[in-house]
């Protein structure tokens, strides 16, 4: 049986949605849904180099080779390898905080970015901040392992504002979820 990996969706957020239940409880509930739907294809993810990650410079994308870890208001900041949109860090928010009045979307697209300081890959949830007009500041458009809309959770063109009052797109954050 294939089990859902909550990390890919930001386990904390799922937990919050489930009303503070434990990760194990959460997974169990999702597991039920999956088990109940065996007729659907449940394929292993081929997240880039998920199995045996090669973090040598030769294995790094252009973005990863030139990324920096000091200024999160620049498109070259390491976590932005697959971001698309206005940086919340330029719009009154933070790297994982929405600006005042905006609501973080509980669901998001994800990316796998390499931190040049330790050479390790991390799972990043690009959580849109929603319900306010487009900030239009520090617009970035990362493309590492970004795919198309038939694989929604790896596509960064979609307005990722679900479960919020209004889906208007304001800006994007890059939340560290864990090691990839």
């Amino acid at each position: 049986m294939t089990i859902f990996n909550a990390d890919s969706f930001g386990e904390k957020v799922l937990r919050r949605f489930a009303g503070g239940t434990s990760r194990r409880g959460m997974l169990a509930r999702i597991g039920v849904a999956l088990v109940a739907a065996p007729v659907f294809p449940v394929l292993p993810v081929s997240r880039a180099s998920a199995a045996k990650p090669d973090r040598s410079p030769e294995a790094k994308t252009v973005f990863a080779r030139t990324a920096q870890t000091t200024d999160d208001t620049k498109c070259t900041y390491w976590r932005y390898c697959a971001i698309d949109g206005a940086l919340c860090t330029c719009s009154g928010g933070g790297i994982h905080s929405c600006p005042p009045g905006a609501e973080p979307s509980p669901v998001s697209w994800v990316g796998t970015c390499i931190n040049p300081d330790d050479g390790k890959a991390y799972l990043i949830a690009y959580r849109d901040c929603c319900g306010k007009s487009f900030a239009n500041k520090c617009n970035c458009d990362g493309a590492d392992r970004e795919t198309q809309i038939y694989t929604q959770q790896l596509n960064n063109d979609i307005i990722w504002c679900f479960g919020v009052k209004n889906m208007e797109y304001h800006c994007s954050t890059a939340v560290l979820v864990g090691a990839a």
Binding site: F40, P41, L43, V45, S46, R47, A48, E58, A59, K60, T61, V62, F63, R65, V107, G131, K132, S133, F134, N136, N139, D141, A143, D144, R145, E146, T147, Q148, I149, Y150, T151, Q152, L154, N155, D157, I158, I159, C161, F162, K165, N166, M167, E168, Y169
Partner: protein, 408 residues
């Protein structure tokens, strides 16, 4: 001087214009102390009116202005002239009636701009007057920009299909003749709706297959092809090109593999060929540090001229995962011959390409430019190029930065 603000016009049954006349007159201005009708105007006053549009032509290009300014501009590629603007909002999707009688716009609005109640609907516009004829309400739609396959019409133009992601993946079916929402069905794991003659629809799926969606019976029947591409390692660009006459779809992957799939009840994909190899170069690879030519563009990297079977592809130099980069060249691919027959150097790194379906096709490009307003969709330059000669026929600056559509 003192005055009573509670005054009511005796002529309160008058129209707004007359009330304005009164109101401002009372307020003082635009009055003369000279007698009225002192002399007739020496010039005949002009009438105000509204122009109308001709029926849609194969030479027309429909250019979405992008992410900041609403509106899709219609240009005639023969003259370079701006004709009118269709009211497509930001993130709205335009579908053109194959009969040329209507424009359909799938859109989403909240009753009070950024709050209130969400509404999803298709607005119906008369193609000659661009007047709104009505809305068709529906349960929802995906909010994303720059996609040609989230709102498609059947070949006869009588049925509309709107992709929804709520975040459950589904499709709304609309009867455009009766202007009614018919029903929704879930479409797990697939997106990018493609018309599919006689069957209903097709869609791209995340397992690397194409699904045929049979809507002819009471039950929605979804049949997938064998998986033939990797949705994560080497994805197919969303904006695949559909050829109605052949019921075929032409696709390209990030590395540059070109596939043709025959649709129908059970789709089958061809063996792909490499666009780089078709140009006498080495095949595109997914690994880093491998410098090559790759297809790319923010929204629309390929355009198919159906009658001649030529595919025009925006190509740029770089490494893999540069799929959003704009083009440095247009490669003209003869699909039957598996050959790149021409490479045209272009300026401004356009991220959108389309081609008119005329017998002498014209290429249309949108490049956002690097100036002020970059990323804001205001600095986009629209270029029309003769596909045969590569000659630039028209250039329009500040045109927009979104999708280009042409007649279906």
């Amino acid at each position: 001087m003192k005055s009573a603000a509670q005054f009511q016009f005796p002529g309160s049954g008058l129209s707004a214009a007359v009330r304005l006349a009164c109101a401002t007159a009372l307020g003082a201005l635009a009055l003369t102390a000279t007698p009225a009708l002192a002399g007739p105007a020496s010039v005949e006053p002009e009438e105000s009116g509204t122009t109308t549009l001709a029926a849609p032509k194969p030479s027309w290009a429909y250019l979405s202005r992008g992410f900041v300014l609403p509106g899709t501009a219609i240009y005639d590629t023969s003259t370079g002239k701006y004709l009118a603007q269709i009211e497509v909002p930001i993130l709205g999707d335009l579908a053109i009636d194959p009969e040329g009688k209507h424009y359909y716009v799938a859109e989403t609005a909240w009753t009070r701009r950024l709050h209130g109640t969400r509404q999803d609907y298709v607005s119906v516009y008369d193609a000659a007057t661009l007047k709104l004829e009505g809305d068709i309400d529906m349960p929802g739609r995906m909010l994303v920009g720059g996609r040609e396959h989230n709102f498609v019409l059947s070949a006869d133009g009588k049925t509309g299909y709107v992709y929804n992601f709520s975040p459950v993946s589904s499709v709304n079916i609309l009867d455009l003749a009766k202007r009614k929402f018919v029903k929704s069905f879930e479409l797990p794991g697939c997106a990018d709706l493609i018309p599919n003659t006689a069957v209903g629809l097709a869609a791209l799926c995340s397992d690397g297959s194409i699904a045929a969606i049979n809507l002819t019976g009471g039950k929605v029947d979804i049949t997938r092809s064998e998986p033939f591409f990797s949705a994560t390692a080497d994805p197919i660009f969303d904006n695949v090109q559909y050829d109605k006459a052949k019921n075929e779809v032409v696709m390209i992957t990030y590395t540059g593999l070109i596939y043709t799939a025959k649709l129908g009840a059970k789709p089958t994909a061809s063996t792909p060929f490499s666009i780089q190899e078709a140009a006498g170069l080495r095949k595109g690879e997914t690994k880093p540090l491998d410098l090559n030519w790759y297809p790319g563009g923010r929204d629309q990297p390929i355009a198919l001229h159906r009658a001649s079977g030529h595919l025009y592809v925006l190509m740029h130099k770089g490494e893999f995962w540069s799929q959003k980069n704009g083009g440095e060249e247009i490669w003209d691919v003869d699909l039957a011959a598996h050959k790149v027959v021409k490479r045209m150097v272009i300026k401004g790194h356009p991220s959108v390409i389309n081609v008119t379906q005329e017998s002498a096709p014209k290429l249309t490009l949108v490049a956002e430019g690097d100036g002020d307003g970059e990323g804001a969709g205001l600095a986009g330059t629209f270029t029309v190029i003769d596909a045969a000669t590569g000659e630039i026929k028209h250039t329009v600056s500040d045109a927009g930065s979104g999708l280009i559509q042409t007649l279906p």
